[in-house]
Symmetry: C2
Subunit: 201 residues, 2 copies
């Protein structure tokens, strides 16, 4: 059985739970507390030298790190990833956008405010995250004004990757009420078969 | 003919020039000066709403952004990307590592010091980039101590993606002399057929 090493509140880990559930693939969950350094132990570093969750252990005992690489691994050959080479590259474009232009601002703000509960302590750093975070939401809003989903007009791992931290952006202090197209897309994602929320295992 | 929108000194753009050259695919280059805002014009934003280079225009006039998504698009079906699903996911793991844990520290430091020439002005920000930048190099060094390349013991786009900014990390103030395994790998990458340097078009 697949094994998912995860910290439950992490949106990056939720991405994998959501896809595995929608693919109806059973998996074992191993919960690690990143707040207690449990991903920096020698044992975990032998699984992912970069010391980050999620990590997926395959049935043959091999390890894959980086949430969006895991999404790709699990979805190739399924309806969640286009078969066409160009569309597959567009899915990856949005997943790299998510990790470079979105997650470091929106997820990090949520972590400081809602996971650590230290909004005051991180106030200056939070202020620096606002402009690039809203810029990422603007790019999404522009795309979703003309498209129902990110690639090929259907639900793919590009949507899963971007949904994870976008739909809880308010927990990072971002006001989503100004983004009608994003809100419409959030409802479309939530209405997909076998959708689970970020608080469900 | 493929068209590459690029800023020549960018390592992200060099990745694409290097792969296209090694694949012996001819392309037209469109140079944009990011220092003059040429990637923030309405015309360019219609190609990539995120306003970043590189962007690849396909022969049918479609656009792909994000350097590592472009690497994937160009290499699928070639010797530069494994066909095996697990190995392909490992290539993506390292490319996401590059964009999340490496480029924001090492490439950004090089940009401030060697492209903008403003090391003094950015001194505090540069200091913040040192620890995570060296942490990324440590992860690479550990892997390369036991492996000749990043995935499958042969040269792939994972190596191209990580080579681009690693081999010029000294231009961002990082001391590479402490990383013997990385230096050995740099020489192996440079000895690949049809290799071009970052200053070659």
């Amino acid at each position: 059985m697949l094994k998912l090493y995860q910290f439950f509140s992490s949106g990056n880990c939720y991405k994998i739970r959501l896809l595995l559930t929608q693919l109806e693939i059973p998996f074992e969950s191993v919960e690690l507390n990143i707040l207690k350094g449990e991903t920096r132990t020698p044992e975990f570093l032998s699984k992912n030298p970069n010391g980050r969750i999620p990590v997926l252990e395959t049935q043959s005992g091999q390890f894959i790190a980086e949430s969006n690489a895991i999404l790709f691994y699990l979805s190739e050959g399924t309806d969640f990833l286009p078969k066409d080479n160009f569309e597959k590259a567009k899915v990856l474009q949005w997943l790299f956008f998510e990790q470079y232009s979105h997650e470091p601002f929106i997820a990090t703000s949520r972590f400081w405010i809602s996971i650590l509960g230290k909004a005051e302590e991180y106030r200056d750093a939070l202020n620096q995250k606002r402009e690039p975070g809203y810029a990422a939401l603007d790019v999404m809003e522009k795309h979703l004004t003309n498209n129902d989903f990110f690639v090929g007009e259907r639900y793919t791992i590009a949507d899963i990757g971007l949904f994870a931290y976008t739909h809880v952006a308010d927990e990072g202090g971002f006001d989503l009420t100004k983004f009608p197209a994003i809100n419409g897309w959030i409802e479309r994602v939530k209405s997909q078969p076998r959708h689970i929320s970020i608080t469900q295992s």
